[in-house]
C-alpha cells in the first residue's frame, strides 16, 4: 500500500491532452499546457506520458492508475486517505489502483471551499469543507468517462453504468476500463453539470463508510515515513536558535565567548528575534546555543506579565457587567430576560495556559540559492501556502521562487498553522547566512519555552430561570488572551474583531434557550497564543457544561434530564445523550465513584460523554476509571478512523483536564520538558467506551471533537462524588485539595 503515496510533485511529462478545471467556483475550460503548480505525479515517466489529465484533482493513466490529489496536511488525522477516498467514491474508482498525491500549494485550486478557500488543515474541517466539492469533482470525471465510452461505442450514455474503474454497457456486454478510455478520451470544453441527485445515495457507497487502510501507515511502522526532521540534503549543516523569552524582544548584548569554543561551530547569527547558531552537527548546535548568554531588549509587551496577576485582571473584566464585550453569539434580549428571571444562577471558571506537545519538535530545512533569490523548503505545516509566503517574505522574493516540499507532520494540534510560520523562517534565514542548506532543530525545551499556548481564561456565566425553572437566558462573559490577531493577522483583519479561536463553543445553537449572549472581553497581554486542539471549545465547554450541572443541581433535577429538556428541538443531540446515558448506566450508584455528564455540539458533530471517577482526598488526585462517549459526525467517511480520532481526542482531553499546565512569570515560560509538563501516559488511560452513531447528515468532523467533553464530565463526576465543585482546569491535585478545603469550610 505504501507505494501508492507519492510524496513529491516533481515528476511529470506535460500532458498531451487538454485539461479541465473542476467545479465549485473554479473556472472550467481548456488550458494549453499545464501550469507547473498543477503538475501531477503518477509514477514513472512512461506512464505519465500517456496520462489523461481529467482535472487538477485526477489523472488517469492508460495503465489504469488513478492519481488523486490530497489537499490537506497529514498530521495523524488521516485526511491524506479520506479526502481522495471521497472523490474516488463518486468517480467509481478501483481503490486498489488509486495513488495519492499531496496537492501543491495552490489555493485557487486546492483551497478548502468550507474554510474561506484557504489551504489550511485545521478545525477538523478537511472532510467537512471538501466533502461536497470532492464528490462533484469525482462525479464530473466519471461523467466524462461515460460520455467518451458512449461516443466510442455509439450508444446512448443512459445505457451505461460504471463499476470499479470500468464503464459497462450491459446490453452488449461490453466493458472498457478507465485506463482504456484514458487512451482515447476527449475532454469537453465545459465541465459536466452534476446535480445533487446524480451523486450516489449513501446506501450505494462502496468506499465511504467501509474503512480502507490509511495509506501512509506502512512507512510509520518501519521508520521509513519522512518527516521534515528526517530530511537530509547534500552539503546540509545544522541550525539552532536561542529565541527571546517573550514575543517582540530582541538580542541587545550577546556574550558568545563560551559558544565560540564549541567544536563544530560554523557561525553565530544575530536575528531580529534571537541568536542563530550554525554548526556541523545538531549536537554542536545545541551545545553552542546553550553556551550563549544574551541580554534582551525590555521593550516587549509581555515582560512583567505573571499569570497570577492576570487571573485577577481577567476575572475583574469578566465580572464587570458595565464593560460590554464583543458578541460572538447574540440571540434574543439577554439583559431584559435576565432582569425578569425568577432566579439567577452564576458561576466562574478558569483555565490555565496549555501547550501542544506535538511529538516532533518544530524544525524545518531550507536551501537558499547562492544569490539569495530562490529557496527550497521542507517542512511539516498545517498550511502549505502560508509556509511558502513566509519563506518568500523572509527573503524578499516572489512566491514562485519558493519550492515547497510538504512532509508528514509529527503532530500538529494547531501549533503549525500560524501565519508567520516562524519555524520555517528560521531555516530560511540561517540558510541564507550559511549559503548552504540548513536543518534547524528546536529542542523540546525550545518548543516549550517558545510555545504558543491555548490562552488563559476566566469565564463568568449567568443563567436566568423562570418560575418553572426553565432557563430563559444564558450570559457567558469570556476574558482571555486574544488569539487570532496573534496567530493569523490576515484572517483576523477579515473577522471584524471576532476571535473564532478563543470563542468557538460559546454558541449554543442546539440548546433551546431563547435569550443567549456570549461575549469576549478581550485581553491584550503580549503572550504568545495559539489554536490548540479543540481551540476555544475546550475551555468554553468546560465552563458551560459544568455550569449547566450547577443549574441542574439548583433546580433539583438530573443533569441528563436537563440536557434532554434543553435539546427538545434537536433530536440528534438527544440521541447521543440518551445513548451514552444508557451505555454508562447513568443513575446507578457505586461506592467511592462518581459519574459526570457532558454534551457538546462541535460545529455540528454531536457528542455526549460520561466519566466515572474516584478521588484520593489526601492527595487531591482524581482517577478516571471509565469514559463513555457517543459521537454523531454525520456521515463517517472512515468509521474506524473516526473511532481512532475519538480515542485520540479523549486522551488529549484527559491531559488538558487533569495535568497539563503552563505557567508564566515575567512573561517567561516556567516549564521545560515532559518532566514538568505532564501529558497522559498509557497508565493514565481508562477503558474508553466509544459508540459511533453515524447518520446520513453532512460530515462535520471528528479530529478533535471529544476533547472538550472530558474536563466537564470529570468535574461533574467529582461533584457527584464529593459535593465539591471544581472550577479550574487542569484539575491539578493542588487545586482539588484547595476546592475540597473551601467547600468544607462553607459547610462548617
Amino acid at each position: 500500500m505504501q507505494s501508492n503515496v507519492q510524496t513529491r510533485n516533481t515528476l511529470f511529462v506535460p500532458g498531451r491532452r487538454r485539461f479541465m478545471v473542476g467545479a465549485a467556483g473554479f473556472t472550467f475550460g481548456v488550458a494549453v499546457g499545464i501550469p507547473a503548480s498543477l503538475r501531477l505525479a503518477t509514477g514513472d515517466a512512461q506512464a505519465a506520458a500517456n496520462d489523461f489529465v481529467a482535472s487538477p484533482w485526477v489523472t488517469i493513466s492508460t495503465d489504469g492508475t488513478i492519481a488523486i490529489m490530497s489537499p490537506a496536511a497529514e498530521m495523524g488525522q488521516g485526511s491524506l486517505t479520506s479526502l481522495p477516498l471521497i472523490l474516488a467514491e463518486e468517480l467509481d474508482a478501483d481503490w486498489a489502483r488509486v495513488r495519492i498525491v499531496p496537492a501543491p500549494p495552490n489555493e485557487a485550486v486546492y483551497g478548502n471551499p468550507g474554510f474561506g478557500g484557504i489551504m489550511y488543515t485545521a478545525g477538523s474541517f478537511a472532510v467537512n469543507g471538501y466533502f461536497k466539492a470532492l464528490r462533484t469533482f469525482g462525479a464530473q470525471v466519471r461523467q466524462v468517462l461515460l460520455d467518451n465510452a458512449a461516443r466510442q461505442w455509439g450508444v446512448p450514455v443512459s445505457e451505461l453504468a460504471t463499476g470499479p474503474s470500468t464503464v459497462v454497457h450491459a446490453r452488449s456486454e461490453r466493458r472498457l476500463s478507465y485506463g482504456e478510455i484514458a487512451a482515447f478520451a476527449e475532454i469537453p470544453a465545459k465541465a459536466p453539470d452534476i446535480k445533487p441527485d446524480q451523486l450516489k445515495k449513501t446506501s450505494e457507497f462502496r468506499l465511504i463508510g467501509k474503512d480502507v487502510p490509511r495509506v501512509e501507515l506502512p512507512g510509520k511502522v518501519t521508520g521509513s515515513a519522512q518527516y521534515s526532521i528526517d530530511v537530509q540534503t547534500p552539503g546540509m549543516i545544522y541550525g539552532a536558535v536561542l529565541r527571546a523569552p517573550v514575543e517582540g524582544a530582541a538580542p541587545e548584548r550577546i556574550d558568545d565567548t563560551a559558544a565560540r569554543k564549541v567544536d563544530g561551530l560554523v557561525k553565530l547569527v544575530r536575528l531580529p528575534y534571537g541568536v542563530g547558531v550554525l554548526a556541523e552537527t545538531p549536537w554542536a548546535a545545541f551545545k553552542a546555543k546553550n553556551a550563549l548568554k544574551v541580554t534582551w531588549s525590555r521593550n516587549a509587551k509581555a515582560w512583567g506579565y505573571n499569570d497570577a496577576g492576570a487571573y485577577q485582571a481577567f476575572a475583574a473584566a469578566a465580572h464587570d457587567l458595565t464593560r460590554s464585550g464583543l458578541a460572538w453569539e447574540k440571540v434574543g434580549d439577554t439583559p431584559a430576560a435576565m432582569a425578569q428571571a425568577q432566579t439567577v444562577v452564576e458561576g466562574e471558571y478558569r483555565c490555565d495556559y496549555a501547550y501542544h506537545a506535538q511529538m516532533e519538535p518544530l524544525n524545518s530545512v531550507a536551501a537558499v540559492s547562492p544569490a539569495g533569490d530562490a529557496v527550497e523548503i521542507w517542512c511539516g505545516t498545517q498550511s502549505q501556502p502560508m509556509a511558502v509566503v513566509a519563506a518568500a517574505k523572509a527573503l524578499g522574493i516572489a512566491t514562485d521562487r519558493v519550492t515547497f516540499h510538504g512532509m508528514l507532520l509529527g503532530g500538529g494540534f494547531g501549533r503549525r498553522g500560524h501565519r508567520d510560520e516562524e519555524f520555517v523562517v528560521d531555516s530560511v534565514l540561517l540558510s541564507k547566512e550559511a549559503k548552504k542548506p540548513v536543518k534547524v532543530l528546536w529542542t523540546r525545551e525550545d518548543d516549550v519555552h517558545n510555545g504558543r499556548f491555548r490562552p488563559l481564561y476566566v469565564h463568568y456565566l449567568r443563567a436566568g430561570l423562570d418560575v418553572s425553572g426553565q432557563v430563559i437566558a444564558l450570559h457567558q462573559r469570556v476574558a482571555c488572551d486574544q488569539v487570532l490577531p496573534f496567530q493569523d493577522p490576515v484572517r483576523s483583519a477579515k473577522s471584524k474583531g471576532l476571535d473564532n479561536i478563543a470563542m468557538r463553543g460559546t454558541e449554543l445553537k442546539t440548546y433551546d434557550i431563547p435569550n443567549r449572549l456570549a461575549e469576549q472581553v478581550s485581553q491584550v497581554t503580549g503572550i504568545r497564543t495559539s489554536s490548540l486542539r479543540a481551540i476555544g471549545v475546550g475551555p468554553n465547554k468546560f465552563a458551560s457544561e459544568v455550569f449547566l450541572d450547577e443549574v441542574a443541581v439548583k433546580r433539583g433535577i438530573d443533569p441528563v434530564v436537563l440536557r434532554l429538556e434543553l435539546l427538545k428541538n434537536y433530536p440528534r443531540g438527544r440521541a447521543v445523550c440518551e445513548e451514552v446515558a444508557r451505555m454508562a448506566e447513568w443513575g446507578r450508584k457505586s461506592d467511592g465513584r462518581g459519574l459526570g455528564f457532558a454534551y457538546c455540539d462541535y460545529t455540528g458533530t454531536q457528542l455526549a460523554a460520561v466519566a466515572e471517577v474516584s478521588l484520593d482526598r489526601a492527595s487531591g488526585r482524581i482517577r478516571v476509571h471509565n469514559f463513555w462517549l457517543t459521537i454523531d459526525p454525520g456521515i463517517a467517511v472512515q468509521p474506524d478512523n473516526v473511532i481512532a480520532q475519538t480515542e485520540s481526542s479523549i486522551v488529549y482531553g484527559l491531559g488538558l483536564a487533569l495535568t497539563e499546565r503552563i505557567t508564566i512569570e515575567d512573561g517567561t515560560v516556567k516549564q521545560s520538558n515532559f518532566y514538568d509538563y505532564q501529558v497522559p501516559r498509557m497508565r493514565d488511560i481508562p477503558p474508553l467506551h466509544i459508540k459511533l452513531m453515524a447518520t446520513d447528515n453532512h460530515p462535520t468532523g471528528a479530529g478533535q471533537m471529544a476533547t472538550p467533553l472530558v474536563a466537564p464530565a470529570v468535574a461533574n463526576a467529582v461533584f457527584q462524588l464529593t459535593g465539591t465543585r471544581l472550577r479550574r482546569m487542569p484539575m491539578l491535585p493542588e487545586y482539588v485539595k484547595q476546592a475540597l478545603l473551601e467547600s468544607g469550610r462553607r459547610q462548617a
Binding site: P218, G223, Q232, T281, F413
Partner: protein
C-alpha cells in the same frame, strides 16, 4: 571543547566506525551520520521514548547514551527490526491501524519488541507497566495494547 573520537560499534548487524564528539548521544549519530532516521528525537532527556533502540537486546533511550560508551555494543534500530516490515509487531500495528501522526511509533515498537522478547505472553497489566515509558501524544495507547496482544497471540 571536546575532541572528535572514533568509536567502533555494531548497528543492525554491521560493524561501523563513528567519528564524533564523544558526548554526542547515540540518537544523533544514528539519525544524522548513519541516516537511520526511523529513530526519533522527542525530548532529549529520556522522558518520551521516541528514540528507543535496542542495545545488546535491551530497549534504551538513545538520546541519553553518549556514543563513547557504545564501543563494542550491539545496536538494533527500527530499520533493523525486520527487513521488510514483517516483524509480528509491525504486522499487528498495521492490523490494528495503530499510528496516527506516527512519530513515536518506532520507539513504541522497539519498546514492545523488548517486552515480547522477554515475556512472549504478557498480561495487559504487564503491557501497560512496560509501555508507560513511551509517550504517544496522539493517544494511540488502546490500540498499542491491542497490537501487542495480537502480536503475542499471532507471533
Amino acid at each position: 571543547m571536546s575532541r572528535m573520537t572514533t568509536t567502533s560499534l555494531t548497528i543492525n548487524g554491521r560493524r561501523q566506525s563513528i567519528t564524533a564528539d564523544p558526548d554526542t548521544p547515540l540518537l544523533w549519530v544514528l539519525r544524522e551520520q548513519l541516516k537511520l532516521t526511523g529513530t526519533k528525537f522527542g525530548c532529549g532527556v529520556g522522558q518520551c521514548g521516541a528514540c528507543m533502540v535496542h542495545v545488546d537486546g535491551q530497549s534504551v533511550y538513545s538520546c541519553l547514551l553518549p556514543v563513547k560508551d557504545m564501543a563494542g555494543r550491539n545496536i538494533t534500530t527500527i530499520e533493523g527490526l525486520s527487513a521488510d516490515g514483517s516483524h509480528p509487531l509491525q504486522k499487528a500495528w498495521l492490523a490494528e491501524q495503530v499510528p496516527q501522526c506516527g512519530y513515536c511509533q518506532s520507539g513504541q515498537i522497539m519498546r514492545a519488541a523488548d517486552l515480547l522478547n522477554n515475556n512472549p505472553r504478557p498480561t495487559r497489566e504487564e503491557i501497560v507497566g512496560h509501555m508507560n515509558t513511551n509517550i504517544c501524544r496522539c493517544g494511540t495507547y488502546a490500540r498499542i495494547v491491542r497490537a501487542i496482544e495480537r502480536a503475542a497471540k499471532e507471533g
